[in-house]
Amino acid sequence: MNKKETPQAITLLEKNLSNGNLQEEELIHFQTELAELLRRQILAYTRGESNSIKTEVAQNLLQSILYVVDLSLSSEDNDLKLLVSSSLPDLYGKGMAIYQERKAAAKNLLQQVKETKLEIPIKAYTLTIETGFENFFLHMEIPLFAQEADVDIDYPLLQNVPEENGLLYVENYLHRLLLENRFCSCFPQSAVDKLTLGWAKTYHLSAADLMTNLTEMILRNAVFCVLVGRSPFELYLTASECDSLEKKLQSIPEEELPALLEKALAFLLKTIDQEMISTGHGNLIKEIPDLVPYLNGFIDTFLPGLKSSLKNHSLKGQLWVSEPLSSTGETVFIDGHSLSDEELRLLLSDLQDCENSERKTELFISKTNNIEDAMVLLDTGVFTPADLEYLFSRLSSAELGLLSVSLLDPAPMAEERDFSLSHLELPDERMYWVSILFDFLTESETPFRDEVLRHAVSFIHSNVFLDSSDPSFYNEL
């Protein structure tokens, strides 16, 4: 637990003593009242049985008095006036009332944390919430050492509570944990389970023994899902996605990484918000204004590790990477059977004999069941530019998306990806029909083009290819 060593009252006195705003008599008056309060606290500590105590105990008692007095001070400029003009016992009494009020509020906060508790196997998380605060809230009166909190907190937060102690630490911890609960609960339970188990496996631990913050685990994978164009709710990346992302990120200047992560995080939160609104769960960002600034802190904590992993080619170590082409991937495309060389030759010959674009397209669609065969035929140059334009106009957005995967530019964020020719280095025979496809897409209506783009991005991340023998797909051709 971080400790704020200097009480605000002392800082205030010191500051004003050195700049002459505090008179010596005022300081003496303060000391005298402080002495009386300390005397009372020492007698309370020893239950009136001893007049002397260890110096460190006395110092802690004094810190406790000043901690409570601090609660009655605001951060306003008139604090010094308040401190020297009010009686210290009065300020202490006021601080005690505030302490009890805030402790009751913190108890309510714990209740909210319990109500939003996630169903995860991490023992540190469960025990911290269920039993970690029992002693602290057992008695509501102010303890002798108010600056200390009798809590048993094992679960680390995404962002540690800075420089607070006692009740203020507990308040802050619970507030942050509640934010984290609300955020993590937006993700599907099954995806969170897989992520937790995946990280546990990475650390060679059981999921129960993980001492890692769940929000951080989720943010890492969700942000990178955004970057590769996968739905952030899936919370996993394949090894190949991770490799390709690593290459892309390595090509970006280091100073641009924070902005990229910020964009990805903003997109993630927007996606979550949209999902929440569409499912009738309210508007997360508007309802919890503290959430975005809190989660933004993730970038600062994550960046150093990310930079170093990019230098060391170890991005996979920063994320949970699922088995490549595992069954968890979405099947969006299954390839049909391929033609034999002889069948291909015959089809090519028939295509050459076709008298017009309509006939060529019809023959191509009816005989081709495999994307590789289709591309081989397109590469042969049997289609004139006019044939190609006709063919493309007959294809659905999904089919065009499949053919235009190579046209996707290498921008790391899926949202920013677009079709481009400038990055392509293709053999001439393929460049011929691909550039016509590019022109076709450029001239298409924007909504249709966007749909093709969306399909192309999703095909990159699909596990297997479209079943081109499936009539539901190729009937459109």
């Binding site: 002392i10 002495a35 300390l38 020492i42 007698l43 002397s52």
Partner: protein, 179 residues
């Protein structure tokens, strides 16, 4: 935190040395009946001893009740002579703070003074050496071991000297196979 130690020290020592000196010299009115008095110089020295003893033991004290309580407890003792009165009080004061630490603050001021007085009068027969290094040490050990009857000192001679020497003799003359 520059001024914090000053505040701390001032908060803990609100009573002026002059006030303590006055209180100490006032005890002469009660102790004179036993032929014991403190000179102003001896009283000042006692105050200084208290300051050093507290500092050496890492303790702080509110008020100066301890010296006064020690004077009231020990002045009726037949083992106290005027010639060594001030020195004995200094030793008792140092012993008191030292024992508060050694007993982990588990024994109250009044109880500790009572035990000091009892041992001094009975088992130690006025010997500060025995009080400090034998009986109070034993009592502190008992406290630290959680013995509820920590004030009861087991006489080291309970293990009779005869038995002790007999065991020693047997060890020395362990004939083993010779017998």
């Amino acid at each position: 935190m520059e001024h914090f130690p000053i505040l701390f020290s001032a908060a803990l020592n609100p009573v002026s040395p002059q006030a303590v000196l006055k209180d100490l010299l006032k005890t002469n009115e009660r102790t004179a009946a036993y032929g014991l008095t403190l000179t102003p110089a001896a009283a000042v020295q006692l105050i200084e001893t208290r300051r050093i003893a507290l500092s050496d033991c890492g303790r702080v004290e509110i008020g100066s009740d301890t010296i006064l309580k020690l004077i009231d407890a020990f002045s009726p003792s037949a083992y106290l002579q005027q010639s060594e009165y001030a020195d004995t009080l200094q030793e008792l004061l140092e012993t008191f703070y030292y024992m508060k630490n050694e007993t982990l603050d588990e024994v109250s001021d009044d109880e500790l003074i009572q035990y000091m007085k009892d041992y001094f009068e009975s088992r130690c027969r006025g010997s500060l050496e025995l009080l400090q290094h034998r009986d109070l040490e034993q009592m502190a050990r008992n406290v630290r071991f959680g013995d509820p009857s920590y004030g009861e000192i087991i006489d080291p001679d309970a293990h009779s000297l005869d038995t002790y020497f007999q065991e020693d003799y047997d060890d020395f003359y362990d004939l083993g196979d010779w017998e």
